[in-house]
């Protein structure tokens, strides 16, 4: 009776021959703000679905072990925001969509949840309210602990099911033939980052539809990975050279314990900790380290802070050891490292008082 799209997609692929399917290349990246261990409360998930790909039926995002979760928000709580773009095949236009992420009562979504995940009452349901020009599409997101063989992929599973855009709306297709191209949603106070640092892998399985049928194609299920390097550390160590009244700054930038080479580091300074202005920038070397120097004017305690940003980018080695073909018959197609924007702590450089000469 029910098409359990998402559940069908996982561990059921062996039942299907490796049929022809498009070279689907969806991707995912995940980031936190701040990028720290054991404390970050803001998580942003960014999914891209290229326009040329087959329509996507279900996306299952597995959270790595080590995270802790808070799923007890009352129904109706706004826990974040969402921005998305979708191409309307009816209008021939790309539409910007945005709104809030709101928790819902899982008991109100039992049918949809069953259809999408195979689980009648999900542990949590978040509704992405995607609005444009006063019209809102509500996209439910289901959160559930993994079970059985799925547990190797992660402890929790975030599932989104999409209607096919290439099937008429009357036959269950997406309204306005809307093809989701990009979704970026942030949830606050849900995930708490792990205590131990590393490259945390968020495995994701995308199950497409067989084009123009509205039927899920588990044989086309592919894997994409997001790597979250935690923590991101901007080292900042100032030293003072009294003879020349100059300072020297140095430090290393690491993400998930690995050095970040060739990164622009912006340096802010000021004579009060809360009044810093950006003064200069430098770049990290191959070891992730940087140094810079300058004069101090006036001869006072000076405060420093550095900040740096990293855009979301491909991680070439990220698809090594892909999930088995029983899970993702179409292989691992992308791996992304997180974007982040990090500021260091403010560090004071105390200028020693000049020694008084006895007459």
């Amino acid at each position: 009776m029910k098409r359990v799209i998402a559940a069908l997609s996982v561990f059921a692929a062996l039942a299907f021959a490796q049929g022809a399917f498009a070279a689907n290349t969806g991707s995912i990246s995940v980031t936190h703000d701040p990028m720290v261990l054991a404390g970050s409360k803001s998580t942003t998930i960014h999914i891209t679905l290229p326009q040329a790909d087959d329509p996507i039926a279900a996306i299952n995002i597995y959270t790595p072990s080590g995270y802790s979760y808070t799923l007890s928000q009352a129904a109706g709580t706004t826990i974040g925001t969402v921005d998305a773009t979708a191409f309307s095949h009816t209008a021939g236009l790309t539409l910007p969509l945005s709104g809030n992420v709101v928790t819902a009562n899982p008991a109100s979504f039992t049918q949809q949840s069953t259809q999408c995940t195979g689980i009648p009452t999900s542990a949590a349901v978040w509704v992405l309210n995607l609005s444009v020009a006063g019209q809102t599409i509500q996209l439910p997101v289901y959160v559930n602990p993994t079970a059985g063989a799925e547990q190797v992929l992660g402890a929790e599973k975030i599932t989104v099911c999409l209607p096919p855009w290439d099937v008429p709306e009357a036959l269950g297709g997406a309204a306005q033939g809307a093809q989701v191209l990009d979704v970026r949603f942030t949830v606050n106070g849900v995930f708490t980052t792990p205590n131990a640092g590393s490259l945390l892998r968020w495995d994701t399985l995308f199950t497409p539809y067989t084009p123009k049928t509205g039927k899920a194609n588990p044989a086309g299920t592919f894997e994409a990975r997001a790597f979250v390097p935690l923590p991101v550390i901007l080292g900042l160590h100032p030293t003072y050279l009294s003879k020349t009244n100059t300072f020297r700054l140095g430090g290393q930038v690491t993400e998930g314990g690995l050095p970040v080479p060739n990164l622009t580091v912006h340096i802010s300074r000021g004579v009060a900790a809360n009044r810093l202005t950006q003064q200069s920038s430098t770049r990290t070397g191959s070891s992730g380290s940087y140094t810079t120097a300058g004069h101090l004017k006036p001869r006072k305690t000076t405060y420093f802070r550095i900040n740096a940003s990293m855009p979301e980018h491909d991680f070439a080695a990220g698809c090594q050891n892909p999930a088995p073909a029983t899970v993702a018959p179409a292989g691992c197609v992308s791996a992304k490292l997180s974007s982040w924007s990090v500021k260091s702590a403010v560090v004071a450089l105390k200028v020693p008082k000049a020694k008084k000469h006895k007459k």
Partner: protein
Amino acid sequence: MAALAFAWAGTANAATPQQLTLTMSDGTQLACSLTLPDAPATPSAGVILFHGLGGKHQDMEPIATQFLAPAGYAALACDARGHGASQGQFGLDGPRDVADTRELYDWFAARIGTQQIGALGVSLGGGAVWNALTAGVPFKAAVPIITWTNLLSALAPQGLSKSGLVQYLAGLVPTSRWDPQLLAAAQGLTTSADLTAATALSAARSETTAQLRSITTPTLLVQGRHDFLFDVDQALAAYRSLGGPKALYLGDVGHLPAANPSAEQPTLYGLAVKWFDRYLKGTPNGVDRTKVVLAHDPWDGRTTAYAGVPPTKRVTVNLPGTTTITGATGKVVRSVRITGGPHETFGDSTVTVRYSNAKSFDHLVAVLAVQGSSTPISAGGTKLKAASGTATIRLLDEVVRVPAGKKLVLYLSSTSLAQSPSNALYVNAVQPDASVTIGRTTLALSVLKRAVSRAGASRRLAGAHATPGLTKTQIVLGGTGPLTGSESAYEPVLSGAKAYFDYVNARGGVYGRKIVYKVEDDQYDPVQTVQKTQKLVEQDGVFAIFNSVGTEHALAVRDWLNARKVPQLFVGSGAAAIGTEHAKYPWTVGLLPSFVGEGAIYGKLIAKQHPNAKIGVLYENDEYGQELLRGLKRGLGRRAGQIVSTQGYALLDTDVISQVQSLKASGADTFVIFALPKQAIQAFVGAAKLGWKPFEYVTSVSIDPAVMQIVRLNAGAQTGAGATSSAFLHDPTNPTQKGSAGVKLYLQIMKRYLPGEDPRAVAHIYGMMAAYAMVDALKHAGRNPTRASLLKAATHLHETNPFLLPGLELTTSPKNYFPIQRTYLVRFQHGFWNVLGRPLAVPSS
């Protein structure tokens, strides 16, 4: 047909329906809502609710929240197939619908953990209840309301279709959503020529006497006293035959011409709850002693109980005469005064007609009315099978009071229109040359042995209605617009207005009355606008039509509303037909600035700023676009010849790219876009993609912030920069306006009353602006308003409206039906439409 109207007047503690989608075994998804009582946490019983034709599950939610949940019942309501947000085809309670009911029952039982489940359905939904009982769905109690047990005899009694009513009903569900089998049956029904398909259709959806006898489920039947679709006989047949506990409530409810007073609802649904209490929960409350209850008409809070079908007597009178009638308009009108009285009709009344010389006059319709009343008592019709003979017409079984001393008037013709142009029950006329001679006629009237309704009934029969839509606690307004479909971007116009009314209601309403705003979805189809507006006025009894969307749509109902003196206020249109024809249509008042005037503003501006412009115009090829174009030419004056190309588009066009290509090819350097938002976006994007960089002007209808957001996303951030338009509303997205009191109030209302909707949509603020004007008019209409006093107030407005840009006002007079007479020029710069200079006068013609 959603005959019973419910006001959204839930209490603060009312349970909240949870929206959900249920998937049937064939994969079809039904949109539903589940209402759980606040207490107990695990309900001991539940009720499945079934809505009427053309309705949706939300129509039933007030029953769930106001009557069932407070009594501890869970309730499940779903859009039937082909209705609302459900998938599938409309099957008129066919076998697939019965299967759905069974599956819904199973799901609901599993969900609430009990099999103690009852069914309550209205009209089409009542049919669903009967069919489910016949099919053995194990409901423990049932309440079918204003429905049929024999569909064919309801739609085509004596083989003659109630063609007007059938056509009306057919229009309530778009034919694209029909099961194709139904279409053939409906076609046969509208003409009465071939009822074969309808007969087969009915047989599968009606209950035979034997089937009714086999039903032992305790059933409370509710039928309308005065309902021309499903008369009392439909319920009596079941009441007489049912095999289990049963009761019959005859109320002032139902389809046309029932009054459906909201004050009767607590009695009716209170009885239904008692019925469920007795048979679902086993509460011994004595309701099982109820047999037949007759509510008084007009509703005065009283009912008369009977131990069985009320006793009747027969009053027979002859109406002598010989008259030959010809063609569609030919009619015989005979009157008679019945001795005694007052009487109250009940049971099978007949009209026996001796006729001769019938030439192509193949059917005869009888309408019986009280003299001086436009609302008939009853009607009926039959086919004439021979050139001469006796025809017996069975009148619909209606329970109507006939005041003592009043004359009865009998109309005989080929249609019911002979009695009144508004009586569109039987509309199939004979050929112009058809004729028949009507001889002596006998009226055999079945009446209650003792009339129970008070004399006040005569007032309604005489047409002396109380002010519709107005009670001590409520003012009911109605509106239509595209809640769904391709033009549903205008839905916020309606939801924004409703949100403002909610805000006003929370502050005491207008002179203590809460405003109830009933909105019907016309899917931007003027044909549906007509149907839905008529429903709002005739069934829901609204006080006024307010804020309906669309020019063509407003014009489609203007004649009808003006003929009935129903205010049609603040139409979202600046069309000349709305704003300047007030002498002919005084009950229709617009709201937008004149389209011609807006076009003229752009014409004057272009003539001044670009005197050598070569102008290309994209316009919607209807009243709206043509008036803007006419205004543009007027504003350009002697420079109108500089329009080098005009390109029209139709609403159904997929896109406007070919028109934009033609305009570019014309050499135009100034692009005037008189288009709705979707086409305006396509125009901006199309021009950019063609590498065309003209000066751009766009009508104010298309300056929602999302329009330019989409344009820039599709064609680059600089696209549209420098474009000019006009605006009269605050833009809540513009940082320069965020401090204004109007925007603050708007955002406050959005947050409180429309938390799930997008506050950036300007259409919301437009709806609030219109609602503000409506509240102002209602206040000025006085503590005891009438439709006339409302119109007077609406045509004497002089208000500062917080949702308008500073310096603008709404002003009307009996000679000025364009309330907004000044507007600002705006230019799209730095991502926003920014106000330029001082307000400009908008010429009204």
